[in-house]
Symmetry: C2
Subunit: 150 residues, 2 copies
C-alpha cells in the first residue's frame, strides 16, 4: 500500500508529498465503518495536521462509478476534477464533468460521481464545516517582509 | 479576461467549469486592497457559493516567484501543487515542492512560493477557518439509496 511521504514541518506548517497524480490509484484505505477496502483514495487531514478541512485525493478507473451516493451531516464538500470526464449527480440533477470542473455540494445534497472516459479520473474532495468561513479572499491576509532562501 | 463558466445549480449545489489547467494563466483579478492586477489567479468562493472554504487556482510562469510573503489572521491555508516544481518557504524553512506536494500552513506562518522549473506551476490554495472542522473523513457522511441517471 502506497504511503504519504513527509517532507518538512515545524509548528507553523506540515508539508507532504503524495507523488504524481497518476500514482493516486495506488493508495487505499479501510473504511472505518464497514471495514471494506477503498482503492484509489487517500485522506490528508492527519498527514498534514489540518484543522479546517479534510481533503482527499481520489481515483476512478476508466468506465467506473463510485458505488454509492452520500450526504453529509455538517460538512460542505467541494469536488475538483483534474483528469478524466464523466457525470456528477446531486439529487435529481445529473450533468457532465471534466478537467477543471468544480462542484460545491451542501451537506443535504445526495451526491454521486462516475468516470465515462478511457482515462482514470483523478479528483480532489474538500470537506469543510458549512458556514464556517468568516474572512476570506485577500481580506484575511497580511503581507510581511521576507527574505527568500531559494 | 477569462471568466468562470457556470455549469449547473440548485439549492443543494453549484457546479462550474474553470477550463483545463493550462488555461488558468488566462484568469486575472484586481486585488481589492492595492488595486493591482494579479495574473493567473482565480477565486472560487463566490462562483461556487461556498460557505466553508475560499479555494483559488493559481499559476506561476516558469522561473518566477510570488512577489510577496503573507500570513493570515483566522485562516489556515493548504497548498496543492499540480504542475511545475520549485520551493516553498514558511518562516525560516525552505523546501523543494513538485507535483503532488501538499502544504498545510497555520495562520501565523509567513509563506512564499516559487517555480524554478521550465513549466508553468499550477497550484490550488484552500483557505478555511483554523480549528473549524468538527466531524471529518467518513464520520460525517451517510450513504443513501440512489438511482444514477448516467
Amino acid at each position: 500500500m502506497k504511503q504519504i511521504e513527509k517532507l518538512s514541518e515545524n509548528t507553523s506548517y506540515t508539508a507532504v508529498n503524495l507523488g504524481s497524480l497518476d500514482t493516486i490509484a495506488a493508495y487505499s484505505l479501510i473504511h472505518p465503518v464497514n471495514k471494506k477496502q477503498l482503492e484509489g483514495k487517500v485522506f490528508l487531514k492527519d498527514a498534514t495536521q489540518a484543522t479546517g478541512t479534510e481533503i482527499s485525493f481520489n481515483t476512478l478507473l476508466p468506465h467506473t462509478a463510485q458505488p454509492y451516493f452520500h450526504i453529509h451531516r455538517k460538512n460542505e464538500e467541494t469536488y475538483i476534477i483534474l483528469t478524466g470526464s464523466g457525470y456528477f449527480q446531486v439529487d435529481e440533477d445529473c450533468f457532465p464533468i471534466k478537467e477543471g470542473s468544480v462542484i460545491r455540494v451542501a451537506p443535504k445534497g445526495n451526491r454521486g460521481i462516475c468516470n465515462t472516459s478511457d482515462d482514470s479520473m483523478v479528483y480532489i474532495v474538500i470537506q469543510s464545516k458549512e458556514n464556517s468561513l468568516e474572512e476570506h479572499t485577500t481580506a484575511d491576509g497580511e503581507r510581511l517582509p521576507f527574505t527568500p532562501k531559494w
